[in-house]
């Protein structure tokens, strides 16, 4: 009897009980629909418009601008810079973060303090820290060396002195250093939480089988952490493709450290070329989407199954 009594109201409610929920979320749905998807659509429209100044009408150039961009002197370099930056930054932050987490995994006296130090760079903006990084990575020659080059000199490590980000070939690798400094603590925190979620029994079982501590990590702990590594890769990757503040703070709009995000800014504000600005922004969006969409779908899906 109880079930019969209980079933009807539940079924009755099930028909429309979700409606108020949908209403409550609808302002956000409208906002995201308009500001994210609507504006992305409109931006693509601008990219296809062939509107290379601020006065002419919106036309339609059939996507020519996406091809023409590659003939601009600054664009291929911007792409190369972004790729070099991404490679060094992602690899650097991932390795350093995992290494720090590995060192802290077994517990270390004053762990909380270590975490605070490794993570604090995330709380400050690159506009602020760029002020000091610009000075630390100053390429002045040995006789009037400053910053890190001067420090190397004092420590008799003069051979390490270099041009930093002003090196025409690999300057972007140096530009990635402040970014590694900012984000490796985050990776450390991700991995540390991951390490600690691996059950001690698993590790113990491997030890009983004669595995050394390093082998335990290599064959037991790290394979368990693939989701963490994937998360970290996606987060670092999308930050990297969008890097803007750091470059603006350290180098400004110089061609030597030109990246897509800076290029968008220059096209819009300095060259007053909406079509080019929008085209570069679209390329950035596509790069991020290729990276993120599969991850999002996988995340939401696997969570539902769980």
């Amino acid at each position: 009897m109880k079930t019969a009594d209980g079933t009807r109201p539940v079924r009755f409610r099930r028909g429309r009980k979700w409606l108020p929920g949908l209403l409550l979320v609808s302002p956000s749905i409208v906002a995201i629909g308009l500001f994210v998807y609507g504006l992305i659509f409109w931006n693509t429209r601008v990219a296809l418009s062939g509107k290379h100044d601020e006065v002419s009408e919106y036309g339609f150039d059939g996507g020519r601008n996406f091809v023409d961009l590659w003939d601009q002197p600054s664009w291929p370099g911007a792409v190369r810079n972004a790729l070099v930056f991404t490679a060094v930054f992602v690899a650097g932050a991932l390795l350093l973060g995992a290494f720090l987490a590995f060192l802290m995994d077994k517990g270390v006296r004053g762990e909380a303090s270590f975490r605070i130090v490794y993570l604090f760079p995330m709380a400050v903006s690159f506009i602020a820290t760029g002020v000091v990084w610009r000075w630390l990575m100053n390429p002045a020659p040995p006789e009037r060396a400053v910053g890190l080059n001067q420090l190397f000199d004092k420590l008799h490590l003069g051979a390490l002195a270099n041009d930093w980000w002003q090196n025409p070939d690999w300057g972007m690798a140096a530009m990635a250093l402040p970014a590694v400094w900012q984000m490796s603590g985050y990776v450390m925190a991700l991995y540390l939480a991951g390490f600690r979620s691996v059950p001690e029994d698993l590790r113990e079982a491997a030890r009983v089988d004669g595995a050394s501590e390093l082998q335990v990590y290599r064959y037991v702990v790290f394979p368990q952490l693939r989701p963490v590594t994937l998360s970290a890769l996606i987060i670092l990757g999308h930050i990297s493709l969008k890097v803007f503040d750091l470059i603006m703070a350290i180098a400004g709009k110089q061609i030597i450290t030109y990246v897509p995000a800076v290029a968008t800014y220059v096209e819009i504000f300095d060259r007053h070329d909406p079509a080019n600005g929008a085209t570069i922004a679209t390329y950035m969006l596509v790069a991020v989407a290729v990276l993120v969409i599969p991850y999002l779908v996988w995340s939401v899906r696997s969570e539902r199954v769980r």
């Binding site: 992305i40 077994k106 270390v108 602020a128 002020v131 400094w181 950035m284 999002l296 939401v300």
Partner: protein
């Protein structure tokens, strides 16, 4: 000869080596802070890059007072933007998170996924039409315009934080309230909101920090009247700055970072949780 082993299966030397490496990284991580602090307290004639590794011979706060004069307008704007923006964000996030975890509608997963994508997009890909839109609704160059942008593009992360937090509230509690005749909002008010404290803390801190540190929205959508401290700082101490007074530059950089640093040091626990939420499944 047997080596003494710590409980974790690590020898004493192993532990010392680990500690030494960790301490070395602490020093490396703090190098920029050291330079910022010592230079900011030097008088102008001492504040030269060639001597920046040494401590001030004469401690002076002249750099700080000059920085304050330069930045106070920007600091005030940043406070307005970050405080109001983070509060609105948290309220929206809480309501969205509640519905998407406890009062789900058909297609809620799709909506949630579409929201989440908004978290990752490069904002350059909306900036040109966004600037045009804000001009049309007469919010261009205003603090309210900047707040609007922050709030809208903050919806995904705030919804995510609250949703992941509310998933841990047992459905039975909501069900019980419903049996007692509570509707959606009553159940939110009487069951969900009272336990939402930690999620509000995480969201407020996260949004405050990212709004305070934002440069992109501010530089694209702001105007001299509404520029937050990051843009002011970049103008006075950034790569394009003309006057080079190192003590003022470094003091400015520190001054602009103090609020978020304080929040981090005092409430770091919540800051961490916000970070983890950003990693979805991390």
């Amino acid at each position: 000869m047997t080596v003494m082993r710590a409980p974790g299966g690590m020898s004493r030397t192993g532990r010392t080596v680990r500690l030494a490496i960790l301490l070395a990284f602490v020093v490396l991580f703090l190098i920029p802070v050291y330079v910022l602090v010592v230079t900011s307290f030097k008088p102008l004639d001492e504040a030269d890059p060639s001597s920046a590794w040494s401590l001030p011979e004469r401690w002076s706060t002249s750099g700080w007072s000059a920085a304050w004069t330069e930045l106070k307008g920007g600091l005030a704007n940043s406070v307005k933007i970050a405080v109001s923006g983070s509060i609105i964000s948290a309220v929206l996030g809480s309501l969205n998170g509640y519905v998407l975890s406890k009062w789900r509608f058909p297609g809620a997963d799709v909506v949630f996924t579409l929201f989440l994508f908004g978290m990752f997009i490069p904002y350059q890909a909306v900036m040109i039409p966004l600037a045009g839109l804000l001009t049309d609704i007469e919010l261009s160059g205003t603090i309210r315009g900047i707040v609007l942008a922050h709030v809208v593009y903050g919806i995904p992360i705030c919804t995510l934080i609250f949703r992941n937090y509310y998933v841990t509230i047992p459905d039975e509690l909501i069900e019980a309230a419903r049996v007692d005749g509570a509707g959606m909002l009553r159940a939110y008010w009487s069951v969900v909101l009272p336990v939402s404290g930690p999620a509000f803390a995480v969201t407020l801190i996260w949004q405050f920090t990212s709004m305070w540190n934002d440069f992109l929205f501010a530089v694209f959508l702001g105007a001299p009247d509404s520029w937050p401290v990051t843009v002011m700082l970049n103008n006075t101490a950034g790569s394009g700055a003309v006057a080079v007074q190192y003590n003022v530059q470094m003091a400015s950089a520190l001054l602009a970072s103090l609020p978020t640093l304080l929040v981090y040091l005092l409430l770091g626990r919540f800051f961490m949780r916000g970070l983890m939420a950003g990693a979805l499944k991390g």
